[in-house]
Amino acid sequence: MRTLSKLMLAGAALATAVGLSACGEREQVIVYKQGKYQGKPDTKPWENDPDASLYTSSKWNKGDQASWEAALRARNLGQNEYSRVQ
């Protein structure tokens, strides 16, 4: 008799746990896993010959990233008119 009541109690506890499991809070935001680029490879801008285009004043050494960045930085600073008028 005692064993039966214990079993019934355990069964009720299990049923409650299973029944309430649907009420649980779950994270609704999807955590995106970054995909991998599947397309064609691109060349770097500093790998081009600076004389390949006609109308440009920027000069850098072909293949040298640092010199290309320096050339672009110099051109970039031309957007600051304060440095030009003062």
Binding site: Y32, Q38, G39, S53, S58, R73, N76, L77, Q79
Partner: protein, 208 residues
């Protein structure tokens, strides 16, 4: 290493649409596609009217890259977000994900059929041989490979639109704000280059 960014100064933009025209002309963008456009708020309200030039901001954590089902996006070493048109299926997911409405879709046939996505490339071309006819036909001009900055910013008459290395243009803007003593809010900067796990600054008048 340079991190290419756009910055539009709402205090200076006069809504001349010179940037839009420069972009159209430089890249021979087809009819119906606008890689760049000027947005005006409070139009006609004296003292409250502001305009900004909007295009792809080449976000640090680009949502278009995150949602693309065919993974056709990539980021260059300079931080420019580009895509491979040979892979694009024109699904439009990137358009829904983009906070700036940058991805554009040319009409490719009857019944509103969408073509492959087209957007601002920071005048950096795409995954074809640099300065080739193929690259120009698909992606437009590659000015970075010529040591130039995007045509829109270089053409801007009031220098409201700045483009280039983030550190350099931020310094230019900072100097400007100090000189005039107002207008320190940069629209879209926090959305594009802010950290996604950090909430934007809640200070009064902040534009993110």
């Amino acid at each position: 290493m340079a991190r290419m960014k756009f910055l539009c100064d709402a205090e200076r933009c006069i809504e001349c649409n010179g940037c839009v025209t420069a972009c159209k002309n430089e890249n021979e963008v087809p009819w119906g596609v606008n890689r760049r456009r000027v947005v005006t708020i409070n139009d006609g309200v004296v003292g409250a009217e502001k305009s900004i030039s909007v295009a792809c901001m080449h976000c640090s954590d680009a949502p278009c890259m995150a949602v693309c089902p065919v993974d056709c996006f990539y980021r260059t070493d300079e931080g420019v977000v580009l895509h491979d048109k040979d892979l694009c299926i024109g699904c439009g997911y990137c358009f829904y994900a983009c906070p700036f409405g940058a991805p554009q879709f040319p009409q490719a046939g009857a019944f509103g059929l969408r073509g492959k996505m087209d957007k601002c490339t920071f005048c950096a071309g795409g995954p074809e041989k640099d300065l080739s006819k193929e690259e120009f036909a698909k992606y437009g001009s590659n000015r970075l490979a010529q040591g130039k900055l995007p045509a829109c910013a270089e053409m801007c008459s009031t220098k409201a639109l700045l483009a280039g290395d983030g550190d350099v243009i931020a310094d230019i803007y900072r100097q400007r704000v100090l000189k005039r003593g107002k207008g320190s809010e940069v629209w879209g900067w926090g959305t594009a280059y802010g950290k996604p796990d950090q909430k934007p600054a809640a200070q009064a008048g902040a534009k993110s």
